[in-house]
Amino acid sequence: MKVSYFPGCTLKNKAKDLDLYAYKSAEALGVTLEEIENWQCCGGVFTTANDEVATKLSSIRALKYAGDKEQPLITVCSACHNVIKQTNYEMQTNSQFADKVNRYMANDGTYNGETQVYHYLEMLRDLVGFDTLKEKVVNTLKGKKIAAYYGCLLLRPNSVMRMDDPENPTIMEDFIRALGADAVVYAKRNECCGGYISVESPESAKRNSNAIIENAKANGAEMIITACPLCKYNLVKNGADIPVVYFTELLAEALGVKEDTNA
């Protein structure tokens, strides 16, 4: 299976692990990630304003690129996923906006939200299948107590993201279980770490992140996994005393492709 892949700015820089292991693991699962040519940064956050067009064009270019190749578009960073998925939804549902965008991008032909956007986790669940994944695990993570941290971007707004139940998601827990580990369910897994607020008021980010870590630990977590570089940054920076790793790294480890990456 070949899919279009949008890595995003951080994955080529501070979050190289997220990217690298995504590639390696996909390969091990028989999925080829075809990186979009000349992709541009999604902008990090989606603006909900009706009258913002320019800030959404980079996402639409990526979407259209995948659409032209008749491939689903796979994202791995939560923020990219949120921005691209919300932009695509707006293209599907807001004809005025779509019209404006298509005029803007006159040279590239029209696009009306036809591309299917999957987060890497959704790809594992819906395109690969957790059962298949389970079969491919070589290093079972049995006995590890792992807490999934969703953050806000993967799940909300639910009317658009449609990834899982926004209040009681299971996709990452099912992922953890597929790898053989124990999933720690805790209430704060879908609460915000503070996100970009750490430039505006670091204390706020600290308070939020701390509460998340404490809640995960109180429920027995020995490790936290996430899909978002910013979440990871906030959690680590604000005193996580248990490891916080990208879910792709855990995946690569379980699939036995982590070592040769490092080698």
Binding site: T10, K14, T48, D51, C152, R156, P157, G194, E200, S204
Partner: protein, 129 residues
């Protein structure tokens, strides 16, 4: 209280939110992770826009405290979408000339060696125009 009809309509247009759908349950403010940072809270944004009392919001630091985590949007029983109102008010404020919240000069002081690009991009998109 001043009723600024023009700004009110502008914010309703940008956000696409109908503030009169609010039934004053306060679940948005109950759910908000940035509540304590804010002078005006999510439900107040909605209610003040509904009554046209916009200026205090425009001048409030609260604009920059919203995390865009969309929890208020998902948990609002009436589908009001308070975060969209906050965003619309903030844009109304920073779209004015010279009203950018962040400048490029300030960046070096903010970063440490682990700062992800995503953080800076997001902050720029949120705080500047």
């Amino acid at each position: 209280m001043h009723n600024n009809k023009y700004l009110q309509e502008e914010i309703i247009r940008i956000s696409g939110v109908n503030p009169s759908k609010c039934m004053r349950c306060g679940k948005c403010s109950a759910t908000c992770p940035a509540y304590d940072e804010m002078e005006y809270h999510p439900h107040q944004f909605v209610n003040m826009v509904e009554s046209g009392d916009i200026e205090p919001l425009l001048n409030s630091e609260s604009l920059y405290k919203c995390l865009s985590c969309f929890a208020c949007i998902d948990r609002c029983p009436r589908g009001v979408q308070p975060a969209k109102v906050v965003e619309a008010v903030r844009l109304t404020a920073i779209r004015k000339k010279g009203a950018n919240r962040m400048t490029a000069d300030a960046v070096p002081a903010m970063v440490d060696e682990d700062t992800p690009q995503q953080l800076l991009v997001s902050a720029f998109r949120k705080y500047t125009k």
